[in-house]
Symmetry: C2
C-alpha cells in the first residue's frame, strides 16, 4: 500500500478538493485526511487496472507496478485495502463538520466510483478494446465520463460539500468538475500518443497498441484539441463563479490542460 | 455482482446485525439496506479470495465462482464494485438514525475489513500456507481473528450501533461477536475436513491439500471441539446480557456452531 501510494503522482484529486474547499471559505486543517482519501481511491484504481487480467501494465509513475514487485495476490489485496482505508478516512471525525455533511460526501464519492461510475467505465473500456468505429464517439464519451471524469468531479464536490459550500457554489463546482474530468482524459489520450514513456512515467503508446478507443484516434488530434479548449473555458468560467478570496480552481484547470506528463 | 451476491449463502452477517439491533430494541425497517451491505462485503471478499492469484477456487455456494463464469477481469471489478456499493449503502439515509451513529458504524465496519483486519488476515493466510508448526497456533489465531472473526464481530456491532444500543449492550455484543467469530472459523475448518464438497457447496479438503493452517490440523479435532464449546458458552452468556424482548442471538450462535455446511 505504501509503495503504491507514496511512489509519486500529481495528487490532482486531493488538490482539487483542497482548492474547492478553500474557494468555499472552509477551514482546511480538519479535512486533510478526508481529501487524502481521494488519492487512496485513485491509487487503488491504478493498482487494479495495471493487473495482468486488466491492462497488464508493468510501469507506473516511473516505477514497476505494485503487482510486479509484490506479486499478483498482494496487488489485488493492496488495492482492496486502499479502497477500504479510503472510506475509513472519509468517515473519520472532522472537527466542526456536521456528520450529515460527511455522510453526503461519502455517498457522493462512492457513487462516483461504483459500477455505474468509475468501475462501469473500466468495464466499458475493457469491452470496447478493438471495437470498430461505429458509435465509437458515444462509447468513448461514456468511458471518459465514468472511468476518469466522475472521480475528478467527485473530488471537486467533496471539497465543496465538506467545506460547507452553498448550493450555488456546489452547482458551479459540478459544472467545473464535469468539464475538467473530460478535459483530463483528452489530455491523457493526447499525451499517450505524443510523449515518451520516460516523460509519462508509464508505458506510452499503449492505448493505440491495444486498440483502445482514444479521443485523437476517434475524432482526430485537431478536433480533440478544440474540444479541450472549450472544456477549459467552461471550467474557468465556473471557477470564477465561486467567489472565494482564495481561488486556485482556474489555475488548476489550466495546469491540467497544459501538462506534458 | 448479481451472480455473486444472489447465488445463495447463509446471510449470517446481516442476520447477526438484524438480531443485534432487534435485541437492542431498534426499529429495523430503515436499517435493512445498511445491514445488507454486510453481505456485499462478505461476497466481495469471497470473489477476490477465489481468484486464481489467491485461493484459485472454482466452486462456491454450489456454483462456479464468479471469475470462472465472467473472467478474471470481471471477477476483480465485480468485487471492487461490491465493496464500493457496500459503503454507499452504509452511508445512505436511515430514517430516525442520527448521522454521527452512522459515521461510527462506517468506521467500525471499515476498520474490521482493512489491512489490519480482514485483509491482514488474508495476507497472513497466504503467507502461512505451507508454514511449519512452530508458532502455528498463534499464527492460526491471528488469521482466524482477522480473516473471518472481525467481520462477524463488526456485524453484531453494526446492529448494536445503528440500533441505538447502550454502552453495556455494545460491550456484551463485542464479547459475543468476538467469541462467535472465532467459533465460526473453527467450525469451517472442521467441516472442510469432515464434509463433502456437495454438502458444503465449495471445494472440501482444500485447506489440507494446500497445506493451510487449520484448527484441527494444529490442535487436533478433539481440542478444536473443546475450544468451540467454550466459545459457544461465552457467546450464549453475553447474548443473555442484552435484555431485549426479542433476542435470537443465542439461537444464532448455536446454529453457527452446530451447522453442517
Amino acid at each position: 500500500m505504501r509503495y503504491a501510494v507514496l511512489g509519486g503522482g500529481k495528487r490532482i484529486r486531493p488538490i482539487l478538493a483542497i482548492a474547492a474547499a478553500e474557494a468555499c471559505g472552509a477551514n482546511l486543517a480538519p479535512l486533510m485526511q478526508h481529501f487524502a482519501a481521494l488519492e487512496l481511491i485513485h491509487t487503488y484504481s491504478l493498482v487494479h487496472d495495471d493487473l495482468p487480467a486488466l491492462d497488464n501494465d508493468d510501469l507506473r509513475r516511473g516505477r514497476q507496478t505494485t503487482h510486479v514487485v509484490f506479486g499478483e495476490a498482494m496487488g489485488i489485496l493492496a488495492g482492496d485495502a486502499l479502497l477500504t482505508e479510503a472510506f475509513s478516512w472519509l468517515a473519520s471525525p472532522a472537527d466542526g463538520v456536521p456528520p450529515d455533511r460527511q455522510l453526503r460526501a461519502i455517498v457522493t464519492v462512492s457513487i462516483a466510483i461504483d459500477s455505474k461510475g468509475m468501475i462501469g467505465g473500466q468495464v466499458a473500456d475493457l469491452e470496447a478494446t478493438g471495437a470498430d468505429a461505429a458509435g465509437a464517439i458515444e462509447k468513448l464519451r461514456f468511458i471518459h465520463r465514468n472511468k476518469t471524469g466522475k472521480l475528478i468531479l467527485a473530488s471537486a464536490l467533496l471539497g465543496g460539500i465538506l467545506g460547507g459550500g452553498s448550493d450555488e457554489q456546489l452547482q458551479a463546482l459540478d459544472r467545473y468538475g464535469t468539464a475538467l474530468g473530460l478535459a483530463f482524459q483528452i489530455v491523457d489520450d493526447l499525451l499517450d500518443q505524443e510523449e515518451s514513456s520516460a516523460t509519462l512515467g508509464k508505458t506510452a503508446g499503449k492505448d493505440l497498441a491495444q486498440g483502445k478507443l482514444t479521443y485523437p484516434a476517434v475524432v482526430g488530434v485537431e478536433e480533440a484539441r478544440k474540444e479541450l479548449a472549450a472544456l477549459l473555458r467552461t471550467a474557468e468560467d465556473n471557477a470564477g463563479m465561486i467567489a472565494g478570496r482564495l481561488n486556485y480552481l482556474a489555475q488548476i484547470a489550466r495546469f491540467i490542460c497544459e501538462r506534458r506528463s
